[in-house]
């Protein structure tokens, strides 16, 4: 089987709130599992264009693409440790960041 292209999602931070956000296809989501996944070159180019346009519209800051793999449930999991941390929060304060809510709901 031919090697599949890398998968990407688009991330940024909310301009006013600062929160880590992910492009869902219709808007910005706080949860990376809701992120739209680019599976080929066209979709990847489209994601980049959305990032640039959303930045120019001053809704978000610092957009960039994150390489992901698919978890058992089909949701995206960032490849780089740094990006996994952005979906969770500091490893030294498990009570803070996105992981806090996940923990409270026994999802982590």
């Amino acid at each position: 089987m031919a090697r599949q292209d890398a998968l990407y999602i688009l991330t940024a931070n909310d301009l006013l709130e600062g929160d880590v956000v992910f492009w869902s296809g219709a808007g910005w989501a706080r949860d990376h599992r809701a992120a739209q996944i680019a599976r080929n070159a066209d979709e990847t180019t489209a994601l980049d264009a959305i990032g640039a346009a959303e930045k120019a519209a001053r809704r978000i800051i610092d957009p960039y693409r994150v390489e992901v793999t698919l978890g058992a449930d089909g949701t995206p999991v960032p490849v780089r440790f740094r990006e996994r941390l952005r979906t969770l929060g500091p490893t030294v304060r498990l009570d803070l960041g996105k992981q806090a809510a996940l923990r409270a709901n026994s999802l982590l």
């Binding site: 600062g18 001053r58 610092d62 440790f81 030294v92």
Partner: protein, 551 residues
């Protein structure tokens, strides 16, 4: 300590309004993201890994109780109930919203504080010896000089768009607790043979990717020439500092590339063209600033307090804390107490809202309303009566602030690392925590003696690893965190850059290796010899066996 007059108040007020307007203009599209970015950085506002981070200046590390309470209030109202004290006498909040920042700046302005130039390519917060004004061995309190420089550098029209950031530190002592040798400009207050007070000026020190020890450019600069001379130094840097490569843009590279003699020649030529008296603050202004730093009216006390000696006899844990965290004060019967922000297994430099408030209360009741922040990320109570120390210690112990480890192996400097920082390549805090737990035993720490471990989570070296007796640099190698150990660094008057021990290690290997390094030291030291002294005597190679065992 210094108090704002009507002009200082108006200035920070203007600055708050300016930032509020800049945020609005960015949202309105008049300022693009590229234009807004340096403006927000010049007000200490970063975008970090999870959120916005605001860095607030604590000029020359001096704080009043009221100011500390405001820092606590901000942590509670706008952040997550804690703040992080840094190696450059700042405090950082990690979870802010841009929309709140103008209001936070207003709260700071109300208590004579600001975030001006805590980031950006400009002159950063002026730092100083945290023991200023109370150290027994001081030529002169460096804080009036630091305050003069704080004002002079604030929104400097010529030096706000430098090639790169610019850090200035001031000390009044031979014992250097301000790390002037690793600053862009280091200033030491000295007395010349004629008995006059002036400045020894150093330039071109720094850490980061290319660590360098500063070179002396002037052995004695008359006090009234300071501002003109700094203007000349800054101008030569601004004009000739490299702008083609961010990693070569600091003044240390300029001084290194053209040589200290050539740099000094250009500075002296520029200085000669200036009318120093037109630039200097007038004598009355200097007197005005100095008056705020007059020593307080100390009680007349015996040199040693009987109450302290009794308490030490009856409470060994307290006696241990006194022997490690309490230093000599210039006034009889007083002491300088270091409050460690390094509880065993804790996050170095973090303080909760409750801890900050308690420190404010203690400062008010027991330390003449004064607190200091150190470059080791600790807090100092600089004006404590010896007979109050026991009461202070008990209050501190109630909120986990009485760890007896100042200067010991668990008093670790650590940058926020990849847990918070968008530039980091590896985590720092978990490594600090693991080392701290490994060496938790108080008796063992005391036996090892002074040993400074400093950890940075990337090559920018915010955790000062280059000048750690043991330095640790976190990198990313093949997608994994990897740590490099350096030995023999020193930020003091004996400044040295640490030497690399060997290839990268995992976090676990790093902790094991440090334990073996300590074992080598303990086995080979002479009586009373510190780790860094033994390292200098024995040489680097003697410690390599500790690494080999890890492989």
């Amino acid at each position: 300590m210094y108090r704002y007059d009507e002009f200082d108040h108006q200035f920070v007020q203007d600055r708050v309004s300016q930032f509020r307007t800049q945020v609005e203009r960015h949202l309105g599209g008049q300022l693009t993201e590229e234009e807004f970015r340096p403006l927000r950085l010049m007000n200490g506002l970063y975008l970090q890994l999870h959120a916005y981070m605001l860095r607030v200046a604590i000029p020359y590390g001096t704080l009043s109780a009221r100011q500390m309470r405001t820092l606590a209030d901000i942590a509670e109202t706008y952040d997550r109930g804690y703040g992080h004290f840094t190696t450059r006498q700042n405090i950082q909040y990690n979870w802010l919203r841009l929309r709140d920042v103008p209001d936070i700046l207003q709260e700071l302005a109300d208590v004579e504080m600001h975030a001006i130039q805590t980031s950006g390519n400009c002159i950063r917060n002026i730092t100083a010896d945290p023991f200023s004004g109370v150290a027994a061995d001081e030529v002169e309190d460096p804080r009036p000089t630091a305050e003069l420089l704080r004002q002079w550098s604030s929104l400097h029209p010529e030096f706000s768009f430098l090639p790169r950031k610019f850090k200035i530190a001031v000390t009044g002592c031979r014992d250097d607790r301000a790390a002037i040798a690793v600053h862009d400009i280091g200033i030491r207050v000295v007395r010349n043979e004629a008995g006059e007070i002036g400045y020894e000026v150093w330039v071109g020190g720094g850490q980061g990717r290319t660590p360098m020890i500063a070179k002396k450019i002037r052995a004695f600069l008359p006090k009234k020439a300071l501002l003109a001379y700094l203007e000349a130094m800054m101008r030569v840097y601004n004009l000739y500092g490299r702008r083609d490569n961010k990693y070569k843009a600091r003044i240390k590279i300029l001084v290194h590339e053209v040589g200290i003699e050539e740099y000094a020649r250009r500075v002296e030529e520029e200085f000669a063209a200036l009318d120093a008296s037109a630039i200097a603050a007038d004598a009355e202004e200097i007197v005005r600033i100095e008056a705020y730093f007059e020593p307080p009216a100390y009680d007349r006390l015996p040199a040693r307090a009987a109450a302290l000696e009794n308490a030490k006899k009856n409470d060994p844990a307290f006696a241990n804390w006194v022997s490690i965290n309490v230093g000599a004060h210039k006034a009889p019967g007083y002491a300088i107490a270091t409050v460690s922000l390094k509880p065993i297994g804790g996050v170095p430099g973090d303080a909760t809202t409750d801890q900050m408030r308690l420190l404010a209360d203690i400062a008010e009741r027991f330390s003449l309303d004064e607190l200091r922040v150190t470059i080791e990320q600790n807090i100092v109570l600089p004006q404590v009566r010896q007979d109050d120390l026991y009461a202070v210690w008990k209050l501190l112990a109630a909120v986990d602030l009485a760890t007896a480890n100042a200067g010991l192996i668990t008093d670790i400097i650590s940058c926020p690392g990849l847990d918070y920082c968008s530039l980091a390549t590896a985590r720092s805090i978990p490594v600090a925590q693991a080392i701290s737990r490994r060496f938790a035993d108080a008796e063992r720490q005391r036996l090892i003696g002074p040993l400074a471990i400093k950890i940075s989570g990337c090559i920018n070296a915010c955790g000062h690893h280059h000048v750690g007796h043991i330095g640790i640099l976190g990198l990313e190698k093949g997608g994994e965190e990897s740590y490099q150990i350096t030995l023999g660094g020193d930020p003091t008057e004996n400044a040295a850059i640490g030497e690399r021990l060997g290839p990268g290690l995992t976090a676990d290997q790093t902790v094991d290796t440090i334990e073996r390094l300590v074992a080598v030291y303990l086995a080979k030291r002479k009586p009373g010899e510190t780790f860094v002294a033994a390292y200098r005597r024995l040489g680097h190679d003697h410690f390599k066996e500790a690494l080999n065992a890890a492989a």
